[in-house]
Amino acid sequence: MSEATWQYRTPRKRLFLWAGWLCFVALCVYCWQVMTQDTIWYFVTDAPKQAADLGARMMPPKWSYMDKLWIPLWDTLNIATLGTLIGVILAIPVAFMAASNTTPSRLFIRPLALFIIVASRSINSLIWALLLVSIIGPGLLAGIIAIGLRSIGFVAKLLYEAIEETDILQIEAITATGASRAQILNYAIVPQILPAFSGITVFRWDINIRESTILGLVGAGGIGVQLQGSLNTLAWPQVTMIFIVILATVIISEWVSAKVRHAII
């Protein structure tokens, strides 16, 4: 009588799992082949030298360039904040239309709202900016609208999930007092989602600061315009300076957002 050893999976399951992993690895190798068929390997092997060269050019940062960065920095903050404002204002109705417990029509309006959310979320703000710059011309306005359009999907998605998680008992209590639909919204649903809503807004603002620093690469205003100019003229010490400013801005905004969210929630 042979000793049976305990095994986590049946042989059949193990075989399937093994075959699955094999296919996955084969797929990855194939993708790697396809991706690198046009790669010039000389450039890759040369990279350490290029990196050292680039490092030497970038150092030291041109500190005096900061004088020219204050106004673009102010523009960047404005793009992010005004964009967040637009995005949030547009996201609120979309979120209420997308939440299955508040939507006016489950058949027509909810899919439309969900499509708006997906479309806005799948397209990066830089691509929105690219489009808007070509449509309404370069400048801050294109950046603000790009940030706004990108924010709609993010805020609306998180907000409608918060709306769907609201406590039904509180809504029933308000309904029982004979409240109208608007009053139910105001006194039963809004107080429940307000903390989540503020958290989402501040979180998105933080992301938007991060994204608005690079929108200028495609001409949508902010500090990215300076970055693009410095890159085009190969003024690497200026590029380093801009990177430092961007990094500092991102870290500060992340800190502020973490503090505010901590205070709210």
Partner: protein, 279 residues
């Protein structure tokens, strides 16, 4: 209070109650602070609007182009530029998959090292600083640097996305490892297990479902990012899109955007399915 008559006591009490109720302020209880913040916000708003220079004639000219974009989006043209689009799409997809796999593989050791409960202090600080560097630089900035170092093309994009994946995955993985049920790892430790056995039997089973879920989420993000980094020359569908928009070929651009949205939707639905299966 009407202390004079005892008979109307109950009546007086009722009338003393306020008949109107005002909802208390939600966030800032101190009135002056609320007003000050409101005023500061208003002041900023006016200043911000004042510093935006908008060329309205250019905007008005652009409206016609915007209308053409909307028409192009509704009647997308897949065929004219199909060879460019398919090339960009294949680059994006291969770049996404390989960079996610490599990034996740590299993020696992970093993530374990950045978890306070399983890593020594020195390793913890090293791994946390790797995460901080990787997370605070945006993909596009890394892409600019990598394109200068490695030349144009999807290889630079692959490196960019892998690098960004490390920071993202390692941070979330480390947080997840710090949140594990300590009783299970303690039980494994009590059997005299080595550190590797502890990771394998105490930690890995607890974080695996979430690791799979996060990897799929990152796959989705990497595809979206791969559409962006092409703008600075790192390959992928972003380069095709950039060219299409530069040529004002809005119907081709619309087709590319529809493809991006479709791929993201497919990725999102299938990842939800796989995640349910993994848990």
């Amino acid at each position: 209070m009407h202390a004079s008559s005892k008979t109307t006591n109950t009546h007086a009490d009722i009338s003393a109650y306020p008949s109107h109720w005002k909802r208390p302020p939600v966030f800032i209880q101190r009135a002056w602070l609320r007003w000050a913040i409101g005023l500061a916000a208003l002041l900023w708003f006016v200043l911000a609007l004042g510093t935006i220079e908008v060329n309205w004639t250019r905007v008005a000219e652009g409206l016609e182009r915007g209308w053409r974009f909307i028409k192009g989006f509704l009647t997308p043209d897949f065929t004219t530029r199909w060879s460019d689009i398919s090339k960009g799409l294949i680059e994006s997809l291969t770049m996404t998959l390989t960079s996610t796999v490599v990034g996740v593989l590299l993020s696992v050791p970093v993530g374990i090292g950045a978890a306070r409960n399983v890593a020594p202090k020195a390793v913890y600080y090293v791994c946390r600083s790797i995460i901080a560097v990787s997370r605070s630089l945006q993909e596009i900035i890394i892409a600019i640097l990598f394109v200068t170092m490695f030349g144009f093309g999807p290889f630079a994009g692959f490196l960019t996305l892998s690098f960004a994946t490390i920071g993202f995955m390692a941070k979330l993985l480390a947080e997840d490892i710090e949140d594990i049920d300590e009783k299970q790892s303690e039980a494994i430790r009590a059997t005299g297990a080595s550190w590797l056995q502890l990771i394998n039997y105490g930690v890995q089973p607890q974080v695996m479902p979430r690791l799979i879920g996060l990897s799929l989420y990152r796959l989705d993000i990497n595809f979206r990012e791969s559409a962006v980094i092409g703008i600075v020359g790192a390959g992928g569908i972003g380069a095709t899109l950039n060219t299409a928009i530069d040529r004002y070929e809005f119907d081709s651009a619309g087709a590319i955007l529809i493809i991006i949205i479709a791929v993201v939707m497919v990725a999102e639905y299938s990842s939800g399915y796989v995640r349910r299966w993994a848990q």
